[in-house]
């Protein structure tokens, strides 16, 4: 397991900043232990040019590299591009269980989503890119404004195997959460059978008081786990908490999924409202904590 935090260009002014931005993300994914596949046609960060608006310059395909990969393979395709404004980066994320070797995902293929910020920064500025993961997990939270404003900033690409309540990976499915100002989606992808439709919310039980939850008692603060439903309850590593209960971006150790784990509370960098819900049925005042190890 690994973490990687770095600053990446926030204002894509030219080919060079586009390359620095995209190759930085690729380097973070590699640092987690994921493996870039040999699919043909993948983006070349030394030659690629910044695309025009609403366009993508190329893609990468990454795969898990754990023991289950041989029988329960997981592939992630990321397309790198530019949003509707020339200086704003954009990605498309999608997950599947196979690839045709030329960039097309096959097998059990999840729903793709475009991820992009809702605003522009200024020339030369950078934003933080958080990444944690392992050979079987990718929790990428990039283009993050540490001051908050998650309704504008922050792109989430979280992909991992379903887990037991003890945190042990299972071969039952893939939990995916993708989010940005452009929309949010959760999708559980089983290795066989019909793939559930995406939901515009994370499957965790809300901690808001109007739903009867008391999120903090004395020194105790509750984290609501993400429950992955595939005929029975599995788990993903990320959890939901009441933002006001914990200081943001200060890693904390909690008992979660059968062990003491370090989580990064994302606070108002991941605090959104409206239809972007992190818990059922409402998430006003809630934020995410991602596994930070």
């Amino acid at each position: 397991m690994a973490t990687d935090t770095r600053n990446l260009p926030a204002f894509i002014s030219d080919d060079a900043t586009f390359r620095t931005w995209g190759s930085g993300i690729a380097a973070q994914i590699a640092a987690m232990g994921l493996v870039q596949t040999s699919d043909t046609g993948q983006i070349n960060w030394t030659t690629v040019a910044r695309p025009s608006t609403f366009a993508y310059a190329g893609y990468e395909i990454w795969r898990f590299n754990d023991a289950l990969q041989a029988t329960k393979p997981v592939f992630i395709r990321l397309d790198y591009g530019i949003a509707g404004v020339a200086d704003r980066p954009s990605m498309i994320a999608r997950v599947a269980t196979a690839t045709n070797g030329a960039g097309t995902l096959t097998g059990q293929v999840g729903t793709s989503i475009g991820l992009l910020p809702g605003g522009s920064k200024t020339t030369g500025s950078t934003l933080t890119s958080f990444c944690s993961g392992s050979t079987s997990r990718l929790n990428l939270f990039t283009h993050v404004d540490l001051g908050g404003g998650a309704s504008t900033w922050g792109l989430m690409v979280w992909v991992e195997r379903t887990k037991t309540n003890l945190g042990v990976n299972t071969g039952d499915g893939i939990a995916t959460w993708m989010a940005s100002s452009n929309g949010v989606q959760f999708q559980a992808i089983p290795f066989a059978g019909t793939i559930p439709a995406v939901a515009a919310m994370n499957p965790a039980i809300t901690l808001v008081s109007t739903a009867g939850a008391i999120s903090s008692v004395g020194p105790n603060v509750a984290f609501s786990p993400t429950i992955v439903c595939l005929g029975k309850a599995y788990f993903a590593s990320w959890a939901v908490y009441v933002d006001a209960n914990i200081s943001k971006l200060m890693p904390i150790s909690i008992d979660h999924l059968g062990a003491t784990h370090t989580l990064m509370p994302l606070g108002d960098t991941a605090l959104v409202s409206g239809s972007m819900t992190y818990a059922q049925p409402t998430s006003a005042g809630l934020s995410f904590a991602i596994l930070w190890e």
Partner: protein, 284 residues
């Protein structure tokens, strides 16, 4: 732990019928191991008259848990008996608290009073009760073909993920279909503020981004009680169409293999969102 299933009247055509209904429920509470307190003023099933109007309380009983925790974390339950949406159909009111004044007034940490009303008369209906000295799970006035009649009251201690009672709080769930007496969920902690009653049960809609049935597996969503940490109540939610109603099932839940009663269409609306989820009640 015990279960008690009996047929009780659901149409108060006389004082005798009302008495038969209420005393039957009272007998069920005793049968599962709860203890009726010595509070004065409790209903007398030999003399009480049937309701003369809708939503009318005719008297109450006060019950208490009888487990080891009762000495330090006492739980008292006041049940008011009366009429539902019209004078001749059942209505129940449930209130939980941590003490009583001995004359029927609950004190200490006192939860909200939640009504559960039948929406139509039924000549006879089944009353399902399961529990223990630290748990009351009652779904009464159940008609197999409709949700219109059922009244549900579930009260128990918070539990760990292994199903062990804790002294953190009392969880109360109530349900019926009548407007103003629909779902009520409340956690009553043994100390500290008591939140306003919620109108949804804290269980997940398993089909939002996931799938409730896959192959031979059918998911039951646990009721998660947040009190500075995740605790549990014994009742669950499941997709109504995926399990045959009113036939007990056995599955692994809260750390052990347990028997549950799925209530199908008789009790719906058991999750935070979505209406097609039914109640599965611990049936042992």
């Amino acid at each position: 732990m015990a279960t008690d299933q009996r047929t009780l009247p659901g149409d108060f055509t006389s004082d005798a019928v009302f008495r038969s209904w209420g005393s039957g429920i009272s007998a069920q509470l005793a049968a599962i191991g709860l203890v009726k307190t010595a509070d004065t003023g409790q209903i007398d099933w030999t003399t009480v008259l049937r309701p003369s109007g809708n939503s009318q309380q005719r008297g109450y009983e006060v019950w208490r848990f009888d487990d080891a925790l009762q000495a330090t974390k006492p739980v008292f339950i006041r049940i008011d008996f009366g009429s539902g949406i019209v004078s001749n159909v059942p209505g129940l009111w449930a209130t939980v608290a941590t003490s009583t004044n001995g004359a029927g007034t609950l004190t200490g940490q006192v939860g909200a009073t939640r009504a559960a009303f039948s929406n139509q008369a039924t000549t006879s209906a089944i009353s399902y009760c399961s529990g223990s000295p630290s748990r009351l799970n009652l779904t009464t006035n159940t008609n197999l073909f409709t949700a219109n009649t059922s009244l549900t009251i579930c009260i128990e201690r918070t539990k760990t993920s292994a199903g062990v009672d804790t002294g953190d709080g009392i969880v109360r769930f109530s349900n019926s279909v009548v407007s103003g007496a629909t779902t009520g969920y409340q956690l009553v902690p043994f100390s500290g503020p008591i939140l306003t009653e919620a109108t949804t049960n804290p269980a997940l809609d398993s089909n939002a981004g996931g799938v409730s049935a896959l192959g031979t597996d059918v998911m039951l969503s646990p009721t998660v009680v947040f009190f500075g940490k995740a605790l549990f109540a014994s009742w669950c939610a499941y997709r109504n169409t995926e399990i045959t109603g009113l036939t007990p099932i056995t599955f692994t839940h809260l750390g052990a293999t347990r028997t549950y009663m799925p209530f199908g269409i008789t009790i719906l609306g058991m999750t935070l969102q979505g209406s097609a989820y039914a109640l599965a009640m611990l049936w042992e």
